[in-house]
Symmetry: C2
Subunit: 115 residues, 2 copies
DNA sequence: AATATATATTCCCATATGGGAATATGTCAA
DNA sequence: TTGACATATTCCCATATGGGAATATATATT
């Protein structure tokens, strides 16, 4: 097997930094493709291809307005990513904090149980 | 140019679901490679290769214990990902909810505080 | 209809996989 | 030293890019 498709899920889709930039641009307001091309300095076909990937995983929504296609970020689709990362928050506190907590709470059932 | 290397950054490294599973396993405690192989049902070389990628972007830390290599997740490295996704939180609330909140709570401190 | 404008798609190509198989490396035990 | 155990690395291969160039599609304008 080879690497998973960029359109297989949100995690793969945002692996590309250009696509993350596009999502940032389209988060606060919808914009036509041409604006993205101008703002990021990419080739138009390149932007269209990235948008296609983002659309396939529902990270952006589109609507037509005359000859323009107006894209905007579907922030809701980024949530799973945020939630996944949030699961690690409890572990990224500084060591000192963790040691302190452990000392203060000795006797308490294992915080860090098996599995 | 082709697709970016999985070791180019955290975003590319976690694009692979197997690697995300490994990070979850190693978040609460360090474990030898063999345990990961058994728990995820993957081939040993495959696990070693995934661990190599995770190491290259500092998503895991290692120490040797006899012939075993004990790996554990470096949660701190997942933070950039979480932070990036957090930037979109303000946009993923439902419209109705947002409108309602705005109407009811003008002036009230944020329910959904920072972090 | 003919032309211009805005996007999308297709083709080609160098590159980076991820899995399987085989092999190398490192460490402990007898 | 020899053998067993635990990991890591290398090779091979099918697949999926992402960028550039060329082309197709859709819509507005005259």
């Amino acid at each position: 097997m080879s690497r998973a498709a960029t359109t297989s899920d949100v995690f793969n889709a945002i692996a590309e930094s250009r696509r993350r930039e596009i999502l940032e641009l389209l988060a606060s307001r919808e914009r036509p493709v041409g604006d993205i091309v101008a703002m990021l300095g990419l080739e138009q076909p390149s932007v269209s291809k990235h948008l296609r990937v983002l659309r396939d995983v529902d990270l952006v929504l589109v609507r037509r307005d005359g000859r323009q296609m107006l894209y905007r970020t579907n922030a809701e689709a980024i949530r799973p990513l945020h939630d996944w990362a949030s699961g690690f928050r409890q572990y990224w506190r500084h060591h000192l904090t963790r040691i302190k907590e452990r000392a203060e709470a000795s006797g308490r059932p294992r915080i860090d149980g098996p599995e």
